[in-house]
Symmetry: C2
Subunit: 205 residues, 2 copies
């Protein structure tokens, strides 16, 4: 109960500059959603965090669900964009998987707050269910590629392709739990992740 009060005071003290442009409002909203959870975040929380009045906020967006949708769309566009890249469709299934994993790590660390929000969606609203469906479609594309690689003998055969795909996504996505860009960029992270998932989960060196 003490946290919102602290935030309110900080906003009143003018510790943050008021933000008005759509991109900045979105970033503020995503930070609030990630801190408190979407369901527990009100338009009042959002307007205070942005340092503007609630009515100014409503001048820009219809409500918090519009911001949620925009934020989740950004994360999903980043992930699905990978699948459209030339190298995601080039080479053996294993080559393609490795390329996609490397790029997933880059998208995830580059758009961290947006992907974090996406990965924590629970499905409590229409927008959240839409995002969950899209996430599942992305995971299904990866699982199909794992199955293709398994059929080509390029993936370990002692664990089912479905389980391989789940452990793969799980390992990659777990990066959001500890990666903090402000502590340094970890330039080797994409390659490190590709190496450990290749050797362990995919079973190839």
């Amino acid at each position: 109960m003490s946290e919102p009060a602290t935030r309110t005071r900080r906003a009143r003290d003018g510790a943050r500059r008021a933000v008005y442009d759509a991109e900045s409002l979105l970033a503020v909203a995503v930070a609030e959603f990630n801190t408190r959870g979407y369901d527990a975040t009100s338009m009042e929380h959002l307007s205070k965090a942005a340092g503007i009045t609630k009515s100014s906020f409503y001048h820009h967006v219809s409500g918090k669900e519009e911001l949620l949708r925009a934020a989740l769309a950004r994360a999903l566009d980043g992930l699905f964009g990978i699948l459209d890249e030339p190298d995601a469709g080039r080479g053996t299934p294993l080559d393609r998987l490795r390329y996609i994993v490397r790029r997933q790590v880059q998208v995830l660390t580059g758009d961290l707050p947006y992907v974090t929000l996406l990965l924590r969606v629970r499905g409590n609203t229409e927008t959240e269910r839409w995002a969950l469906d899209r996430r599942r479609a992305f995971d299904a594309a990866i699982a199909a590629l794992v199955t293709e690689a398994a059929a080509a003998g390029q993936v370990r055969a002692d664990i089912s392709p479905g389980m391989v795909a789940r452990l793969l996504s799980g390992t990659v996505n777990s990066i959001i739990e500890w990666y903090r860009p402000e502590r340094g960029g970890l330039p080797d992270l994409p390659d490190d992740v590709v190496r450990v998932v290749s050797e362990g989960i995919l079973g190839q060196t």
Copy 2:
């Protein structure tokens, strides 16, 4: 906004039986916290989900934070309990790591709702910060063991022990994202996870 209304109707229709014992109240509360997020869950949500009045609920617990603490303690006791088991202290650092990972998967799948709640804690209340500190202490114990294994040449040397420990915990913990006991118990899961993390993340076969 339509979800709480649906839940209210369901509670009124008596679709669930009223629960009174502490263990069942805790299970109901954890399910509600996981569905809606702790911050967005009120005592009214909890009493409705349990099918009892708010005043009956207050007869059993002082408030939702007491339930949160009990639920998080259960998850933490399960995890720390592993470290006290004889096999967690026996053999080489690599043997011990493998034993702990196998048992972590078992605790995580056996107490899924409780561990899920623990892994989603944000640190917004005193209880959440206590749980985060305990979680960090557990992760630090694993990281110390990885460092010990690395010093003994039992863990891959091309990735820092700190990163190895993070990827290890991340892979294990990511199981909560997709494991659903009602779809079948996956008896091979602990061994499968030990195998992929041994070969990939730890770099040993």
